[in-house]
Symmetry: C2
Subunit: 269 residues, 2 copies
């Protein structure tokens, strides 16, 4: 049995103190370049495997400056400041002299404190009771996930009618299943198809320009989640003048909040 | 009449291609260091006044690595990649060799497209019908704002009871009034007091570690807003293991969405 395709996708080789090298993988192709969630996960993976890393991920922001071209790329991950229990990171992905991604991250040694989950997972059918989509995905990377849409599924056609809302709720896990880690949680935080396609039921060219992920899970919650499904929910806030955003939450099957995330997309027309 | 204290607060002098210098201002003092919203606005101001800037702000993420000490600081703002209509920026604030803030931003030349505001402003009393707080602020920077709390105001005491939710809704504008620009919108995106203080009605030491602002306003919406009030709303999502987040939206008096924003705070206990 070979490695899981997610592990192949985020595989990096270290070539310097802050320099790792990866390569694009045909299993993760999107319309143009790779699935952005995988690119974000590669940036996270460089931090996770950096010998100077202190603690677990708290936050990651990545700006997609250009589509990664097929082939090799460099990930430069550098601690910008290390405090007693927190660490701030800059990260970038380059191909030659071209900057494809810039970002920042924060990691920290966590300790037990008061805890409270204000964003509750809604009451929804269990994953086993929700059928997978029957249509073939248009891009390769979608085959890497087991998706069970509960609400706001991919538009059945481009009829151009206003759907009235851009809420999507779904179960998702790696296909085949794989124990959750911070890199795969980063990738799954980008699982949502663009809100504008749902809202307008009209195809418009677009792409994510920035994504932020806040990690609520510690190692213990990742272990509890294992290779189970995640429940993910997203909704757009404002669309106009070429850009729109969404906010999203990701829970595990037990209803524990694992991550909250936001994005901005560019769109045409 | 002197300059407005916000203009004094974000004033920068350029000393190199990507290097501007500012200084802290007693009018903007917080418990430790300056109001983080002003520090974020200083980072934004460096990008706004950079001679190579292309277009309007779309997104800004700043990580607060350490509290800015009283005195001078350097802001280093650098275009990392400039495309035809978009530009990706790295920004940092340093005092000597010490990194106090790292961040990224994106600016873009916007054009008219389909537009839709999904996050609607709730029905609330007008600013003139909401009295200002009667208690004196504990920190200086709060005096720089005219605040009208509608819901979830600052706890009247630290009685330690669970408030059941961490929703705050308020009107806010500069005090004295000042026409809105992207720098002051950045600062007001950080107007919220910490959600954990509301939720627990208990004082705990804390600080913002990262903030992201998405700009929905263009120059035209800033001009329409003028020196009117903004309506701001926020709510926490997850609290635990030393960190919590919030999401927030900011509208103008006419109900136009100007910005959406998220933060993570560190807290003790």
């Amino acid at each position: 049995m070979g490695a899981h395709l997610f592990d192949e996708g985020v595989a990096l080789e270290w070539h310097g103190e802050n320099l790792a090298r990866g390569h694009t993988h045909p299993a993760w192709r999107n319309f143009i370049g790779p699935f952005g969630g995988l690119t974000a996960a590669q940036a996270m993976q460089a931090i996770l495997t950096h010998p100077q890393r202190l603690g677990d991920p708290i936050a990651l922001t990545v700006n997609f400056a250009a589509a990664v071209a097929d082939g090799e790329f460099d990930v430069i991950a550098q601690p910008a400041r290390t405090n007693r229990s927190t660490q701030h990171w800059t990260v970038s992905i380059k191909q030659g002299d071209e900057v494809m991604l810039i970002g920042t991250a924060m990691t920290a040694v966590r300790r037990d404190t008061w805890a409270m989950q204000e964003a509750s997972m809604p009451q929804v059918p269990r994953p086993a009771d929700v059928p997978p989509p029957t249509t073939d995905p248009r891009v390769e990377w979608v085959r890497r996930y087991d998706l069970r849409f509960i609400e706001g599924g991919f538009p059945g056609g481009w009829h151009g009618g206003d759907s009235g809302a851009s809420l999507t709720r779904l179960w998702v896990r790696d296909n085949p299943p794989r124990p959750l880690d911070f890199a795969s949680l980063t990738a799954m935080s980008d699982i949502f198809f663009p809100r504008i396609w749902l809202r307008r039921a009209q195809f418009v060219p677009l792409g994510t320009v920035t994504m932020t992920v806040y990690f609520h899970a510690r190692e213990a919650q990742l272990a509890e989640t294992g290779s189970g499904y995640l429940f993910a929910q997203t909704r757009g806030q404002g669309f106009g003048a070429g850009y729109f955003d969404h906010t999203a939450q990701v829970w595990n099957e037990a209803g524990t909040l694992l991550a909250t995330t936001t994005q901005v997309y560019y769109f045409k027309e």
